[in-house]
């Protein structure tokens, strides 16, 4: 573990140095919002952002990617992407989401397409400086992280406290010029930031410990809330699209114009979309809109947690709250209504 304190200029020079050596994807302004994109200059990097439009999953599970190339008359080959890159400026809740995807794609039948990209990435996380309008990471216990990153940056009023926790992180930090060893006061200041964030990234307060959610949902399956909320659902899948832990995908064959070769491509899919469970012949196993709406929240707070050691697969980024036009997607609103009506037992 390496600890360093950098002033703004030193951080900027370090970022510039990294950009000159390799692909660095960082948080940038996009209109009056923010998103991840390749950095050309340190000037583009905005570590004071509130939330990015898209979660960072796209860099490991792209919206569309080739899995295989094939010749129509035979022969398949794996298409793998292992170009090293730095992902700069992830908020802790997004980091938790990536670490959940690591478990999912690494377990049972490991998915080398995901894992190769993941191995090629060095992740620089940054503690939140400006809470977004809909964030509820404090409620979900994801406002602050102690592990899972290669490097963590924390703004402590007069500079950044930089912690490298892995070999990759140390290697990245080795190209940093300047900086001083942090004092006890600096470390105490970082603790203060963490304590603050643990409480105040919380536009919505979940009325229970998130660890209780799987038990709550055991009693909520036939509750009228699913029908009530889903009444105004457009089945647009925006909640799936912007969710940092949604990873369902479809696979399609795309044939080149020469009709001789092509690619088997993976693309994002969403369990809210009509047709998600439709099989050849036309039968659709989860046809009702309310059932699809319920399925998403059960994935987040019951089904996926059972696969990843109990972690709740909602990290409180709040993106779905902002993306949902009829304003029914907010997981906290759903869980709190269930808690109000069913109580804790």
């Amino acid at each position: 573990m390496t600890l360093l304190k950098l002033n703004k200029n030193q951080l900027n020079r370090w970022v510039e140095e990294l950009i000159s050596r390799q692909l660095v994807i960082g948080v940038q302004a996009k209109g009056d919002k923010f998103d991840f994109a390749p950095l050309q200059s340190w000037r583009q990097l905005r570590l004071d952002y509130d939330v990015t439009l898209q979660p960072p999953k796209q860099f490991f599970l792209p919206p569309r990617e080739p899995l295989l190339s094939f010749a129509v008359n035979g022969g398949y080959g794996s298409v793998l992407d292992g170009q090293p890159f730095v992902l700069f400026g992830l908020h802790p809740y997004d980091l938790v989401a990536i670490n959940q995807l690591d478990l999912i794609f690494g377990q049972d039948n490991p998915d080398i397409h995901y894992l190769k990209r993941r191995d090629a990435a060095t992740i620089v996380a940054v503690d939140v400086m400006r809470p977004s309008k809909h964030v509820f990471a404090s409620s979900m216990g994801t406002a602050v992280v102690e592990k899972g990153f290669d490097v963590l940056l924390t703004w402590i009023d007069d500079g950044y406290l930089v912690e490298a926790q892995t070999e990759k992180g140390n290697a990245l930090l080795s190209s940093c010029r300047g900086g001083i060893a942090p004092t006890q006061q600096d470390l105490a200041n970082r603790q203060k930031v963490w304590e603050h964030n643990r409480k105040h990234l919380n536009a919505y307060q979940l009325k229970c410990d998130p660890a209780y959610l799987p038990k709550l949902l055991e009693r909520a399956y036939d509750h009228p809330i699913w029908e009530q909320r889903a009444k105004t659902c457009f089945s647009c899948g925006s909640c799936n699209l912007v969710c940092p832990t949604c990873y369902c995908f479809d696979v399609r064959d795309v044939v080149a114009l020469d009709l001789d070769k092509g690619q088997r491509q993976r693309c994002w899919d969403g369990c809210l979309l009509d047709g998600f469970t439709k099989v050849a012949g036309g039968h659709e196993f989860r046809k009702a809109r309310a059932d699809r709406f319920r399925h998403r929240l059960y994935r987040k707070a019951k089904y996926v947690p059972a696969k990843i050691g109990g972690q709740i697969a909602c990290v409180g980024c709040g993106r779905c709250v902002g993306a949902c036009l009829p304003d029914i997607a907010n997981p906290v609103a759903v869980f709190n209504e269930l808690l109000d009506q069913l109580g804790i037992s």
Partner: protein, 280 residues
């Protein structure tokens, strides 16, 4: 942070090349294929499935219809319903296809059923996914007791594997009962849905192992019919169909509440499904 080395891992989406060694139509919509994996025969268990891949069209999940005891190659029987299955229908002997598998951890109880009577309840093409288990049992005849196969189809055109059913029915301690949903002047046998055969079954249903596969609507009615008997839910096996797109527990399409049809199934014990409302 990810410590996993990807170097030595195989690509779970990469099909293996295979060759069609036998192909024929069973009726107007069902085609039989025997394929050989180019790299050599696979070990598999009755109930496991494969993803059959046609480059440029896609993949379809199909239960292996042969038994590991019945020799070389894998048999698959495919109904023509979508793009991929239509493309599979066009395959001729000698042609190549891709194949991934064997997939699925929820399989038929070839061990647990030893020394027991077995009742197979099949709706239409639901005979095909059970054929692997049926053939396995018939290939290890002395390990099992009586075998009863109920086969219900909609009409004459939907009948399939008639020769095989008839050959099985002439074996000792094997009873095959066929029924047609709709009467037909060419049909002199039983008429009615498959559940109407259950009271006629010549074994003690309450002590038998029961295996069920058919169209989605059938399961509920079969289970209702079985409620008349004191059947243990541990002894009823249901082979469920879902959109098993990736087949390896990632893509999310085949999820049945918390279960993945492709990983936890496709064969489930009824007792496993007690808290799984989406199953049936």
């Amino acid at each position: 942070m990810c410590q996993c080395s990807t170097v030595d891992k195989k690509d779970i989406y990469l099909p293996e090349p295979a060759t069609v060694v036998e192909a024929r139509m069973l009726n107007k919509t069902e085609r039989y294929l025997r394929v050989k994996i180019d790299s050599g025969q696979w070990d598999y268990v009755p109930g496991q499935f494969v993803e059959v891949s046609i480059a440029g069209t896609g993949e379809a999940p199909l239960t292996i219809a042969s038994s590991p005891s019945s020799g070389d190659g894998l048999e698959i029987i495919v109904r023509r319903v979508g793009n991929v299955t239509n493309a599979i229908h066009r395959l001729q002997v000698g042609q190549k296809l891709g194949i991934r598998g064997p997939l699925g951890r929820g399989v038929y109880p070839v061990e647990q059923a030893k020394g027991r009577d077995i009742l197979f309840i099949c709706g239409g093409i639901g005979l095909v996914p059970q054929r692997s288990f049926i053939k396995y049992v018939l290939d290890h005849r002395s390990d099992y007791r009586k075998v009863v196969i109920l086969q219900g189809v909609r009409d004459m055109e939907q009948r399939l594997l008639e020769d095989e059913l008839s050959a099985w029915s002439s074996m000792p301690d094997v009873v095959v009962m066929e029924t047609l949903d709709r009467p037909d002047p060419r049909w002199s046998g039983h008429v009615g849905v498959v559940t109407t055969l259950i009271p006629k079954v010549p074994i003690d249903i309450e002590r038998a192992v029961i295996s069920v596969c058919g169209p989605p609507v059938m399961y509920k009615f079969v289970l209702m019919a079985l409620r008349e008997y004191k059947v243990s839910h541990d002894d009823v096996y249901l082979n469920l169909e879902r959109k098993m797109k990736c087949g390896v527990g990632k893509c999310g399409h085949c999820q049945i509440n918390h279960l993945y049809c492709c990983m936890d199934g496709p064969v489930f014990r009824y007792s496993q499904l007690a808290v799984v409302p989406e199953a049936i």
